[in-house]
């Protein structure tokens, strides 16, 4: 498949167009890094959703729950093992961060497995019921989060090694944002390699195009479904954990709040397209930070504006996939 460079070029065009508006180079660098970091986190949260939609034609309105659960999982580990982080060494921080992130991914993945198995399996192929059932799941699990972790905001200590910022030229860059960009790029590269260079990826891509054909060739598409769903939920958990550390707090509603942005990203990218999701997430992240600096009142609405513009240009998103 030929890469669609025009849609990809929108990212640098947007970034460069913002430069004269922002006015000063150091501010622009700071904003761009912040935007990319935000975009990477949104991408992690959105990737599972778009892939699940592409492969199984299921739009999971409860995806936000995986984000929240990941955040809470990480928060639990971080607050329990907080003492080890006081040393301020990178090794000490990592010894807490890694279990925290692993807990987030594992918890969200288990939830995803449960969700697919119990709630979504009986309603494949029926969009109306899917939306209703996943909304019901969202209600119940958000309440269960209240039961398990309480309704209060949990403040989250961020490990010392990745807080603070360093100076590059004249621009102050937060360490955490760089870390988020690195993790995001690793995840994206990993997904790209998995989807394009392995047999599993081949099957998944074939499944997105034509599930019946894959099945008739003797592959169990059901197993692929479950695998993708669990992996997507785990990614959402990772994204949620990183988002929580970025915000330095966890609330039961955070998943739902982020989900609106995630939906916008998925629509912009084209339902089912991982590459489109990546581009969409970058655009949303960058635009949110630029408008946050230039016109704070507009910032929250900028996503919607972006979505409308993209849909007027390409009605099915930047990278439309397979079936209409």
């Amino acid at each position: 498949m030929k890469t669609d460079w025009i849609a990809l070029a929108v990212i640098p065009v947007l970034a460069l167009a913002a430069l004269p508006l922002v006015g000063s180079m150091p501010t622009w660098v700071t904003l761009t890094v912040a935007g990319l970091a935000m975009g990477m986190m949104i991408f992690m949260m959105a990737a599972g959703l778009t892939l699940v939609f592409g492969l199984m034609d299921v739009l999971n309105f409860a995806h936000g729950i995986f984000i929240s659960v990941g955040a809470y999982g990480a928060a639990t580990v971080l607050t329990r093992m907080g003492a080890q982080m006081q040393g301020g060494t990178l090794a000490g921080d990592l010894s807490v961060m890694l279990p925290a992130v692993a807990a987030a991914i594992a918890l969200a993945a288990v939830m995803g497995w449960f969700f697919e198995r119990v709630l979504i399996r009986p309603v494949y192929g029926d969009h109306l019921k899917q939306i209703l059932i996943t909304m019901g799941g969202l209600i119940v699990f958000e309440q269960l989060i209240h039961v398990v972790w309480g309704a209060d905001i949990i403040p989250l200590p961020r490990p010392g090694a990745i807080t603070g910022s360093f100076i590059l030229g004249d621009a102050a860059i937060e360490r955490y944002r760089v870390a988020a960009v690195v993790v995001g790029l690793v995840v994206f590269a990993g997904m790209w390699l998995l989807l394009n260079r392995t047999r599993i990826g081949l099957l998944v891509r074939a499944g997105v195009e034509n599930p019946e054909m894959v099945e008739s060739l003797g592959y169990r598409i059901r197993r692929l479904f479950v695998g993708v769903f669990v992996a997507g939920s785990g990614l959402a958990g990772l994204g949620g954990a990183m988002w929580a550390m970025y915000q330095e707090q966890v609330t039961p509603q955070m998943g739902m709040q982020v989900l609106v942005v995630v939906f916008i990203v998925v629509i912009i990218g084209g339902l089912g397209s991982v590459g489109g999701c990546f581009v969409g997430a970058m655009l949303v992240g960058l635009l949110a930070n630029y408008t946050g600096f230039l016109a704070p009142k507009l910032a929250l609405g900028s996503n919607i504006l972006l979505m409308v513009l993209v849909l007027l240009w390409r009605p099915r998103g930047l990278y439309p996939v397979g079936r209409a």
């Binding site: 939306i131 209600i139 929250l300």
Partner: protein, 333 residues
Amino acid sequence: MKRLLSGDLPRSRVLAAILVLVFLGLVLAPFIFPGTRSLNVAAKVAVFILLVASYDLLLGYTGIVSFAHTMFFGIGGYGVGIAMSKLGAGWGSLSLGISISLVFSLAIALAIGLLSLRVRAIFFAMITLAVASFFQILASQLSELTGGEDGLTFRLPELLRERITAYYVVLAVATVLFLALLRVVNSPFGRVLLSIRENEFRSEAIGYRLVTYRTVANCLAALGATAAGVLYALWLRYTGPDTTLSFNIMIDILLMVVIGGMGTMYGPVLGATLFVVAQNYLQDLMKLASGATAGIPLLPQVLHPDRWLLWLGVLFIVCVYYFPSGIVGRLRR
């Protein structure tokens, strides 16, 4: 009577009895349940019956999921609120506020419908969610106009200040509009909507334009929600994000319509009544249950009064799986 209900009779003795009971309860509420709290509950039931019934026109009859219903509800509320607080408590500003909000709702419903109903139902659901959250942001940002998070408190014309009168105005308008919705779904237009829900491909093949019918349904539902918003604002004499635009209300509406019964106008009546009453009185019951199980681990938290939504959520899922036509479908069996 048959004319009044547009030929759509309850078709079940129990259902008919419950409906009569609900109606009588609402009409006689100021006399048989004295007190501010119960009158508030009764008014909320009346408003939400209209709100949920107009949502059912979309979800149950046309088979499309919208998350922007609270947005239209809010437009009605804010239309009245802004007009009354900026232009003074007269009938002129009241009617101006109502007409502006109705026209505004219609325009937005038309725009959303034409933009996104061409594609798939699932797309519409996502777009409406995004637009609705945009409105929520707008309402909290334009605080000079909307009062921001605090909302708007306003005064009404002399006649509506009397609580009992206000209650009967709300009830009367809600009843008339509900009967109008019943008329719509039992008209030839309503039949076409049903056929689209059942099989869009065939309906299109017969020659009905899907986009047109879906968009008109979306506009009608939006107008119904706006009217409900107007009524609710009139009753509360207040409009704010938490009473109109909040996503929680959208979830409440979904719960009401599914538990009551999709695809019949009587479902929303049962759903809204049950839900609002549960919202106000179930918590007392749960407090007792939570206290009684105090010694056992986890159970008290699960039965905690604030967790009532958990149980309604479980009921919701059970309904979607096993009783897709809700309580009403069950009673009609």
